[in-house]
């Protein structure tokens, strides 16, 4: 890993989200809420279509964070779910995660994360702390 510097912009990574991934995440996480799998149900509760689990978006941001120094180095991670990621049938939705090193203090780097889909910011105040 290259040395991180405060203020550094990290290379963005694209993640593909589709219905298959939502089913796989539901299975892996145990979150079987039908709004993430069943289009008719999602629409019946006023959603435009099936939406991704907020925690899936956060898990993908966590994978991005892990790639910086290793998943065993992540000691703090938080985010607000400000907008849903809508996932229509037979469609790959692109989620772009990028990061910026905010500060490095006492061997820990604070990383600010941005998650964008369809030009919409879906995570708010997303940040992680990694041990260097």
């Amino acid at each position: 890993m290259n040395q991180l510097i405060a203020g550094q912009e990290l290379t963005a990574e694209n993640f593909k989200i589709n219905r298959q991934l939502l089913i796989a995440y539901a299975d892996a996480s145990g979150d079987q809420n039908p709004i993430h799998q069943d289009e008719a149900f999602a629409k019946s509760v006023g959603l435009p279509d099936v939406i991704a689990h907020g925690m899936l978006t956060m898990a993908l941001a966590g994978k991005y964070l892990s790639a910086i120094a290793g998943s065993e180095k992540v000691i703090s991670f938080s985010a607000k779910f400000i907008k849903p990621v809508v996932v229509p049938a037979d469609t790959d939705v692109n989620l772009t995660i990028s990061g910026k090193v905010v500060e490095i203090v006492e061997g820990q780097a604070k990383i600010e994360l941005t998650a964008i889909y369809n030009e919409i910011k879906v995570l708010g105040m997303a940040k992680g702390v990694i041990r260097l």
Binding site: A28, S29, D31, M55, M58, K63, S71, E72, S76, F77
Partner: protein, 127 residues
């Protein structure tokens, strides 16, 4: 509406949860994480979600109307396969804003006496 007497109380699961290599690998594969020697940073949710869901349902909230507001993890060390956790959850606050109930739940995962991961979830129960 959540019973205000429940705020501040801690509920500890009677059953412990064993983390299998299969569960870590499955979670890692979904997000494209190549390292399966330790659990990914948000893996703990697969243990704590079930607990907070049960707790809120027993508290009388309608889980089908729950929207996730925010989430935080504090990880003292990574979770590895073979560990056995006891999960305890505390409703830290509950307030009503424009008919929506906003509930904050903290869940702690202990391995023996060691606190390994704490999670904080803000859940919004839509009116």
């Amino acid at each position: 509406m959540l019973n205000p007497d429940l705020v501040g109380r801690t509920f500890t699961s009677a059953d412990s949860v064993s983390v299998t290599q299969e569960s870590i690998t499955k979670f890692a594969n979904v997000i494209g994480e190549p390292n399966t020697l330790v659990a990914p940073p948000t893996f703990a949710i697969s243990i704590t979600l079930d607990q907070s869901q049960k707790l809120l349902q027993e508290s009388g909230l309608d889980w089908t109307r729950v929207v996730h507001g925010d989430q935080r993890f504090e990880i003292s060390r990574p979770i590895v396969a073979g560990e056995v956790f006891i999960c305890s959850s505390t409703i830290e606050s509950a307030r009503n804003v424009a008919g929506n109930e906003i509930v904050s739940v903290r869940s702690d995962l202990h391995s023996g006496a060691q606190l390994v991961v704490s999670t904080w979830s803000t859940l919004v129960v839509r009116a």
